[in-house]
Symmetry: C2
Subunit: 296 residues, 2 copies
Amino acid sequence: MKSELSTFFDRVLPDVDASLDNLLPSGTTPPEKIHQAMRYSVFAGGKRLRPALCIAGFALYESNWTAVLPVASAFEMIHTYSLIHDDLPAMDDDDFRRGLPSCHKKFGEATAILAGDALLTLAFEVLAGIDAFPPERTLRVISMLARASGSESGMIAGQVFDIEAEGSPIDRVDVERIHRSKTAAIITAAVTAGAFLGGAKEPELGSVRVFGERIGLAFQIVDDILDETASSETLGKTGGKDRDQAKATYPALHGLERSRAIVRELTEQARAAIRPLGTRSEVLLSIADYLETRSH
Amino acid sequence: MKSELSTFFDRVLPDVDASLDNLLPSGTTPPEKIHQAMRYSVFAGGKRLRPALCIAGFALYESNWTAVLPVASAFEMIHTYSLIHDDLPAMDDDDFRRGLPSCHKKFGEATAILAGDALLTLAFEVLAGIDAFPPERTLRVISMLARASGSESGMIAGQVFDIEAEGSPIDRVDVERIHRSKTAAIITAAVTAGAFLGGAKEPELGSVRVFGERIGLAFQIVDDILDETASSETLGKTGGKDRDQAKATYPALHGLERSRAIVRELTEQARAAIRPLGTRSEVLLSIADYLETRSH
């Protein structure tokens, strides 16, 4: 399993990086500074989880994933914008990201705000420019991405809930709502959009959606656990920050052991959801295994 | 002319406001605070110039403009997001907007950043959800809006050029580039998208585009002139700020008289561009007249 996953990532990641390199304005395109800032954050060593999930969803149905690369790249742009804005002094105020100075530390706060805005905008420009799929499908993917990023049940909602929960008493419903909107929504959209563009129809599309929801929630809980247990050096960002900021996390609410058990349960539910797809689902299954056991 | 324009605005503005009210999450939708912040800024008394231009472009071809209202509203969302982010302490640091506390003064900086992000995201969600036009047309309008908002030649590029120009020696090419990208691009996109969805084809679409570019540039020059000459009370924001911040403006470069002459020239070019459209163009012509002579 593990080696199949390595093979998948070895094949996918260079394609994703080449696509991002191709879609992002060059660092010599005026105004240079913002394009350098966008590239700095996009190429700062992310795991490319969302693009990989988008491609793996597509690859359930189509072995040549070239057509879906711009979509996978758009998801990474949205993810990167959210990290840039989350790190700002007015938000989580984090000086480091993936072991490097965060965007505003490197380029200044104004440029970081605008670089985030520009990545968000470019993601939609890229999607709107795709002509490899029927236009009504592309429109539906734009809707999926926008909702998963938005203020009602998407990433922005999650960030607001998260800020509001800081230092307040929280319960299980609160923290699950934060994690679902802040992290799981966009992960779900990535794998679902890939499968949808590959040609998935209900009920298989629904199975893929459930898979995304479960691994998305598990992913954020693992993040919380690692923030408690791993060193800042391993994380590439400041560890233990969640506790210092009294963030709403699973370990804060349930303790580490119960949090780990919840991750196992969610991952098992994710596996069960896509088991009916048979051997096609092997890459997604091994991504779920990797996310459950990752150490950074 | 003037009274025809009033009639147009009297008919259009309630429709635009109703559409925005309908499209924006209510102030009681969780997370409440961000939705209240989005609504606060959207309903803070803007002129609705971009929606009006979008509708006027559409109305060149279709007398019932109901179908284009979500598109017009998306342009206003993008405009409002840009004002919220421009006002941030790290950017122009403006405490007032349209006579009211700016979004970050009222709701805090984190919420203002996220409210801007959410309006930008919602604009694309709204466009992607439109089914009144052939999907390939809707996709093209999403492309137009994204490019006009983006970091290469759109609003974000203009904001970066503007920040970089502060306090530096500027020439005519610089300041025109700033104004074209920062303000004219989105105004051009609004009227062009409206005409395109109404059914405009080349060469008429090109005429509408030229009209938009000329009035867009003129609009920003008038803004610069008013910043020099009008009181803060009339403007509803801090007057004289451009000079204090050594912003790149037409009055700074050319003086007030020459700037006024440039506005007249641009407005005449705008009028000339759409004159071939005949009586259909009367609303657009009177918008051009209004923009040339406005006092706030």
